[in-house]
Protein backbone atom coordinates (compact mmCIF):
# COMPACT_ATOMS: atom_id res chain seq x y z
CA UNK A 1 0.00 0.00 0.00
CA UNK A 2 1.54 3.32 -0.98
CA UNK A 3 0.85 6.70 0.52
CA UNK A 4 -2.22 8.27 -1.08
CA UNK A 5 -1.42 11.49 -2.91
CA UNK A 6 -3.53 13.37 -0.40
CA UNK A 7 -0.30 13.24 1.62
CA UNK A 8 1.38 15.89 -0.52
CA UNK A 9 3.61 18.46 1.14
CA UNK A 10 1.98 21.86 0.91
CA UNK A 11 4.13 25.00 1.11
CA UNK A 12 2.66 28.45 0.46
CA UNK A 13 -0.32 26.93 -1.29
CA UNK A 14 1.64 24.71 -3.69
CA UNK A 15 1.57 20.93 -3.35
CA UNK A 16 4.62 18.75 -3.77
CA UNK A 17 4.69 14.97 -3.78
CA UNK A 18 8.32 14.83 -2.63
CA UNK A 19 9.16 15.71 0.96
CA UNK A 20 12.87 15.75 0.20
CA UNK A 21 14.38 19.11 -0.67
CA UNK A 22 17.97 19.26 -1.87
CA UNK A 23 20.75 21.74 -2.34
CA UNK A 24 22.95 22.12 -5.41
CA UNK A 25 26.28 22.86 -3.77
CA UNK A 26 29.46 20.81 -3.30
CA UNK A 27 28.99 18.51 -6.27
CA UNK A 28 31.86 17.47 -8.54
CA UNK A 29 30.20 19.13 -11.54
CA UNK A 30 26.81 20.10 -12.98
CA UNK A 31 26.23 16.66 -14.46
CA UNK A 32 26.58 15.00 -11.08
CA UNK A 33 24.33 17.69 -9.58
CA UNK A 34 21.65 16.94 -12.14
CA UNK A 35 21.83 13.15 -11.72
CA UNK A 36 21.76 13.37 -7.93
CA UNK A 37 18.73 15.63 -7.96
CA UNK A 38 16.91 13.33 -10.35
CA UNK A 39 17.79 10.32 -8.21
CA UNK A 40 16.48 12.10 -5.12
CA UNK A 41 13.08 12.84 -6.66
CA UNK A 42 13.26 16.31 -5.13
CA UNK A 43 11.01 18.97 -6.57
CA UNK A 44 12.35 21.91 -4.58
CA UNK A 45 16.00 22.74 -5.08
CA UNK A 46 18.05 25.44 -3.35
CA UNK A 47 20.53 27.71 -5.12
CA UNK A 48 22.90 30.45 -3.99
CA UNK A 49 23.08 33.95 -5.47
CA UNK A 50 26.56 35.15 -6.35
CA UNK A 51 28.39 37.55 -8.66
CA UNK A 52 28.49 36.47 -12.28
CA UNK A 53 31.99 35.68 -13.48
CA UNK A 54 32.39 38.49 -15.97
CA UNK A 55 34.33 37.45 -19.03
CA UNK A 56 34.60 33.86 -17.86
CA UNK A 57 34.18 30.87 -20.20
CA UNK A 58 30.87 30.97 -21.96
CA UNK A 59 30.90 27.24 -22.74
CA UNK A 60 30.25 26.53 -19.08
CA UNK A 61 26.48 26.16 -18.79
CA UNK A 62 24.55 28.03 -16.12
CA UNK A 63 23.07 26.05 -13.26
CA UNK A 64 19.53 27.05 -14.23
CA UNK A 65 20.05 25.66 -17.72
CA UNK A 66 20.69 22.25 -16.14
CA UNK A 67 18.13 22.61 -13.34
CA UNK A 68 15.36 24.50 -15.02
CA UNK A 69 12.86 26.73 -13.15
CA UNK A 70 10.28 25.19 -15.47
CA UNK A 71 10.85 21.73 -14.06
CA UNK A 72 11.82 22.51 -10.47
CA UNK A 73 10.81 24.96 -7.79
CA UNK A 74 13.99 26.96 -7.31
CA UNK A 75 14.58 28.05 -3.73
CA UNK A 76 17.22 30.79 -3.55
CA UNK A 77 19.06 30.92 -0.24
CA UNK A 78 20.85 33.71 1.59
CA UNK A 79 23.89 31.58 2.34
CA UNK A 80 26.92 33.56 3.42
CA UNK A 81 24.87 36.47 4.78
CA UNK A 82 25.77 37.56 8.28
CA UNK A 83 23.50 40.58 8.49
CA UNK A 84 19.93 41.61 7.77
CA UNK A 85 20.76 43.94 4.90
CA UNK A 86 22.70 41.45 2.79
CA UNK A 87 20.07 38.75 3.38
CA UNK A 88 17.22 41.02 2.32
CA UNK A 89 19.16 42.31 -0.71
CA UNK A 90 19.96 38.74 -1.74
CA UNK A 91 16.28 37.79 -1.68
CA UNK A 92 15.34 40.88 -3.68
CA UNK A 93 17.96 40.12 -6.32
CA UNK A 94 16.84 36.50 -6.43
CA UNK A 95 13.24 37.54 -6.98
CA UNK A 96 14.33 39.77 -9.84
CA UNK A 97 16.45 37.12 -11.50
CA UNK A 98 13.73 34.49 -11.16
CA UNK A 99 11.11 36.75 -12.74
CA UNK A 100 9.13 37.52 -9.62
CA UNK A 101 9.33 34.09 -8.00
CA UNK A 102 9.18 34.94 -4.32
CA UNK A 103 9.76 31.74 -2.35
CA UNK A 104 13.07 32.10 -0.51
CA UNK A 105 15.16 30.30 2.08
CA UNK A 106 16.32 32.80 4.68
CA UNK A 107 19.46 32.19 6.68
CA UNK A 108 21.35 34.87 8.59
CA UNK A 109 24.48 33.33 10.02
CA UNK A 110 26.03 34.25 13.33
CA UNK A 111 29.29 32.36 13.45
CA UNK A 112 31.74 31.06 10.84
CA UNK A 113 32.74 27.95 12.74
CA UNK A 114 29.32 26.51 13.52
CA UNK A 115 27.30 28.41 10.89
CA UNK A 116 24.55 28.67 13.49
CA UNK A 117 21.96 31.29 12.65
CA UNK A 118 21.93 34.67 14.37
CA UNK A 119 18.40 34.55 15.69
CA UNK A 120 17.71 38.26 16.39
CA UNK A 121 18.93 39.20 12.91
CA UNK A 122 17.08 36.31 11.30
CA UNK A 123 13.87 37.49 12.96
CA UNK A 124 14.41 41.07 11.74
CA UNK A 125 15.21 39.92 8.20
CA UNK A 126 12.21 37.59 8.17
CA UNK A 127 9.91 40.45 9.20
CA UNK A 128 11.26 42.73 6.46
CA UNK A 129 10.91 40.03 3.84
CA UNK A 130 7.38 39.05 4.89
CA UNK A 131 6.44 42.75 4.77
CA UNK A 132 7.85 42.84 1.22
CA UNK A 133 5.59 39.91 0.22
CA UNK A 134 8.21 37.20 0.15
CA UNK A 135 7.26 33.67 1.06
CA UNK A 136 9.92 32.91 3.64
CA UNK A 137 11.18 29.47 4.59
CA UNK A 138 13.36 30.28 7.56
CA UNK A 139 16.45 28.42 8.79
CA UNK A 140 16.53 28.49 12.58
CA UNK A 141 17.91 26.83 15.69
CA UNK A 142 15.74 24.13 17.22
CA UNK A 143 14.34 26.55 19.81
CA UNK A 144 10.58 25.90 19.99
CA UNK A 145 9.81 29.48 21.10
CA UNK A 146 11.69 30.99 18.15
CA UNK A 147 10.15 28.50 15.76
CA UNK A 148 6.68 29.62 16.79
CA UNK A 149 7.70 33.31 16.51
CA UNK A 150 8.70 32.85 12.90
CA UNK A 151 5.37 31.25 12.15
CA UNK A 152 3.54 34.07 13.93
CA UNK A 153 5.23 36.78 11.89
CA UNK A 154 4.19 35.07 8.66
CA UNK A 155 6.93 32.69 7.50
CA UNK A 156 5.49 29.97 5.27
CA UNK A 157 7.73 27.26 6.67
CA UNK A 158 10.10 26.90 9.60
CA UNK A 159 13.28 24.92 9.20
CA UNK A 160 15.07 23.95 12.41
CA UNK A 161 18.57 22.58 12.10
CA UNK A 162 19.35 19.00 13.03
CA UNK A 163 23.02 19.90 13.61
CA UNK A 164 25.50 22.40 12.10
CA UNK A 165 25.45 22.81 8.32
CA UNK A 166 27.64 20.17 6.70
CA UNK A 167 28.35 18.35 9.96
CA UNK A 168 26.41 15.18 9.15
CA UNK A 169 25.72 14.65 12.86
CA UNK A 170 22.00 13.97 12.47
CA UNK A 171 19.29 15.27 14.77
CA UNK A 172 20.98 16.47 17.96
CA UNK A 173 17.79 17.14 19.91
CA UNK A 174 14.82 15.08 18.74
CA UNK A 175 12.72 16.30 21.67
CA UNK A 176 13.00 19.92 20.52
CA UNK A 177 12.15 18.95 16.95
CA UNK A 178 9.09 17.04 18.16
CA UNK A 179 7.97 20.00 20.29
CA UNK A 180 8.36 22.34 17.33
CA UNK A 181 6.28 19.99 15.17
CA UNK A 182 3.57 19.70 17.83
CA UNK A 183 3.28 23.48 18.17
CA UNK A 184 3.29 24.27 14.48
CA UNK A 185 0.59 25.25 12.01
CA UNK A 186 3.06 25.69 9.13
CA UNK A 187 5.30 23.02 7.60
CA UNK A 188 8.36 22.14 9.67
CA UNK A 189 11.33 20.90 7.68
CA UNK A 190 14.59 19.78 9.21
CA UNK A 191 17.35 21.67 7.43
CA UNK A 192 21.11 21.17 8.00
CA UNK A 193 23.13 18.48 9.68
CA UNK A 194 21.58 15.38 8.18
CA UNK A 195 24.31 12.79 7.47
CA UNK A 196 22.76 9.57 6.28
CA UNK A 197 19.44 7.96 5.42
CA UNK A 198 18.43 7.03 8.97
CA UNK A 199 18.76 10.70 10.03
CA UNK A 200 16.22 11.65 7.40
CA UNK A 201 13.89 8.82 8.42
CA UNK A 202 14.06 9.91 12.05
CA UNK A 203 13.13 13.48 11.09
CA UNK A 204 10.05 12.18 9.32
CA UNK A 205 9.17 9.83 12.21
CA UNK A 206 9.21 12.84 14.52
CA UNK A 207 6.44 14.29 12.37
CA UNK A 208 8.44 16.72 10.26
CA UNK A 209 6.85 17.67 6.98
CA UNK A 210 10.08 17.39 5.03
CA UNK A 211 13.85 17.46 5.11
CA UNK A 212 16.30 19.72 3.30
CA UNK A 213 19.83 18.46 2.78
CA UNK A 214 22.86 19.09 0.62
CA UNK A 215 26.15 17.79 2.05
CA UNK A 216 24.65 14.42 3.04
CA UNK A 217 24.18 13.65 -0.63
CA UNK A 218 26.96 15.65 -2.27
CA UNK A 219 29.70 14.37 0.05
CA UNK A 220 28.60 10.74 0.08
CA UNK A 221 31.05 8.45 -1.69
CA UNK A 222 28.33 7.72 -4.21
CA UNK A 223 26.06 10.75 -4.30
CA UNK A 224 23.54 9.40 -6.78
CA UNK A 225 23.06 6.25 -4.73
CA UNK A 226 22.77 8.26 -1.51
CA UNK A 227 20.17 10.49 -3.16
CA UNK A 228 18.12 7.39 -3.87
CA UNK A 229 18.59 6.19 -0.28
CA UNK A 230 17.39 9.53 1.03
CA UNK A 231 14.31 9.41 -1.16
CA UNK A 232 13.40 6.02 0.29
CA UNK A 233 14.26 7.09 3.84
CA UNK A 234 11.94 10.07 3.64
CA UNK A 235 9.13 7.88 2.30
CA UNK A 236 9.75 5.15 4.90
CA UNK A 237 9.90 7.64 7.77
CA UNK A 238 6.72 9.30 6.60
CA UNK A 239 4.82 6.01 6.32
CA UNK A 240 6.06 4.99 9.78
CA UNK A 241 4.83 8.28 11.18
CA UNK A 242 1.43 7.97 9.53
CA UNK A 243 1.20 4.33 10.60
CA UNK A 244 1.55 5.32 14.26
CA UNK A 245 4.43 3.49 15.90
CA UNK A 246 4.01 0.93 18.68
CA UNK A 247 4.59 2.20 22.24
CA UNK A 248 7.96 1.76 23.84
CA UNK A 249 7.94 -0.56 26.85
CA UNK A 250 10.30 -0.95 29.80
CA UNK A 251 9.95 -4.73 29.69
CA UNK A 252 9.29 -7.48 27.18
CA UNK A 253 5.93 -8.30 25.66
CA UNK A 254 5.97 -11.74 24.02
CA UNK A 255 5.00 -11.97 20.40
CA UNK A 256 4.00 -15.66 20.44
CA UNK A 257 1.07 -17.18 22.46
CA UNK A 258 1.95 -18.47 25.97
CA UNK A 259 -0.39 -21.53 26.06
CA UNK A 260 -0.50 -24.64 23.93
CA UNK A 261 3.07 -25.62 24.72
CA UNK A 262 3.82 -29.25 23.87
CA UNK A 263 6.52 -29.34 26.54
Amino acid sequence: MSIPNTDDLSIAGINYSSRLLVGTGKYKDLQETKKAIESSGAEIVTVAIRRTNIGQNKDEPNLLEIISPDKFTILPNTAGCYDVESAVRTCQLARELLDGHDLVKLEVLGDKKTLFPDMPQTLEAAQQLVDDNFKVMVYTTDDPIMAKRFEEIGCVAVMPLAAPIGSGLGIRNPYNIRTIVENASVPILVDAGVGTASDAAIAMELGCDGVLMNTAIAEAEKPILMASAMKKAIEAGREAYLAGRMPRRAYASASSPIDGHFF
Binding site: L30, R50, R51, K58, N62, L93
Partner: protein, 65 residues
Protein backbone atom coordinates in the same frame (compact mmCIF):
# COMPACT_ATOMS: atom_id res chain seq x y z
CA UNK B 1 34.45 56.51 -18.07
CA UNK B 2 35.06 54.19 -15.16
CA UNK B 3 32.51 52.21 -13.21
CA UNK B 4 32.91 49.45 -10.64
CA UNK B 5 31.62 46.14 -12.00
CA UNK B 6 31.37 43.25 -9.55
CA UNK B 7 34.07 44.88 -7.48
CA UNK B 8 36.49 45.57 -10.32
CA UNK B 9 37.07 48.78 -12.32
CA UNK B 10 35.53 48.66 -15.77
CA UNK B 11 35.62 51.12 -18.67
CA UNK B 12 32.46 52.00 -20.53
CA UNK B 13 31.34 54.61 -23.08
CA UNK B 14 29.80 57.90 -21.98
CA UNK B 15 26.23 57.11 -22.98
CA UNK B 16 26.27 53.43 -22.09
CA UNK B 17 22.92 52.00 -21.06
CA UNK B 18 22.54 48.85 -19.02
CA UNK B 19 21.36 47.06 -22.15
CA UNK B 20 24.62 48.12 -23.90
CA UNK B 21 26.64 46.72 -20.99
CA UNK B 22 24.77 43.42 -21.04
CA UNK B 23 25.41 43.08 -24.75
CA UNK B 24 29.08 44.00 -24.43
CA UNK B 25 29.57 41.45 -21.67
CA UNK B 26 27.71 38.79 -23.62
CA UNK B 27 25.52 37.99 -20.65
CA UNK B 28 22.91 35.31 -21.06
CA UNK B 29 20.77 33.11 -18.88
CA UNK B 30 19.09 34.44 -15.77
CA UNK B 31 20.75 37.29 -13.90
CA UNK B 32 19.85 40.37 -11.86
CA UNK B 33 21.50 43.78 -11.75
CA UNK B 34 21.96 46.27 -8.95
CA UNK B 35 23.37 49.76 -9.34
CA UNK B 36 24.47 51.54 -6.17
CA UNK B 37 22.46 48.99 -4.19
CA UNK B 38 19.28 49.58 -6.17
CA UNK B 39 17.87 46.67 -8.10
CA UNK B 40 17.16 47.56 -11.72
CA UNK B 41 14.06 45.88 -13.16
CA UNK B 42 14.51 44.26 -16.56
CA UNK B 43 12.04 46.71 -18.09
CA UNK B 44 14.44 49.59 -17.37
CA UNK B 45 17.55 48.11 -19.02
CA UNK B 46 17.13 50.12 -22.21
CA UNK B 47 16.34 53.40 -20.42
CA UNK B 48 18.88 53.68 -17.65
CA UNK B 49 22.25 55.18 -18.53
CA UNK B 50 25.31 54.45 -16.44
CA UNK B 51 27.33 57.19 -14.73
CA UNK B 52 30.98 57.39 -13.75
CA UNK B 53 31.60 55.78 -10.40
CA UNK B 54 28.45 53.63 -10.47
CA UNK B 55 28.79 50.44 -8.42
CA UNK B 56 27.26 47.70 -10.51
CA UNK B 57 26.58 44.20 -9.27
CA UNK B 58 25.48 41.45 -11.63
CA UNK B 59 24.46 38.20 -9.96
CA UNK B 60 23.22 34.79 -10.99
CA UNK B 61 22.16 31.53 -9.38
CA UNK B 62 24.88 28.97 -8.62
CA UNK B 63 25.07 25.74 -6.68
CA UNK B 64 24.44 26.10 -2.96
CA UNK B 65 22.73 24.41 -0.01
Amino acid sequence: MEVLLNGDPHSIDQSCTIQNLIRDLNLDGKFAIEINQNIIPRSKYLDIKLHAGDKIEIVQAIGGG
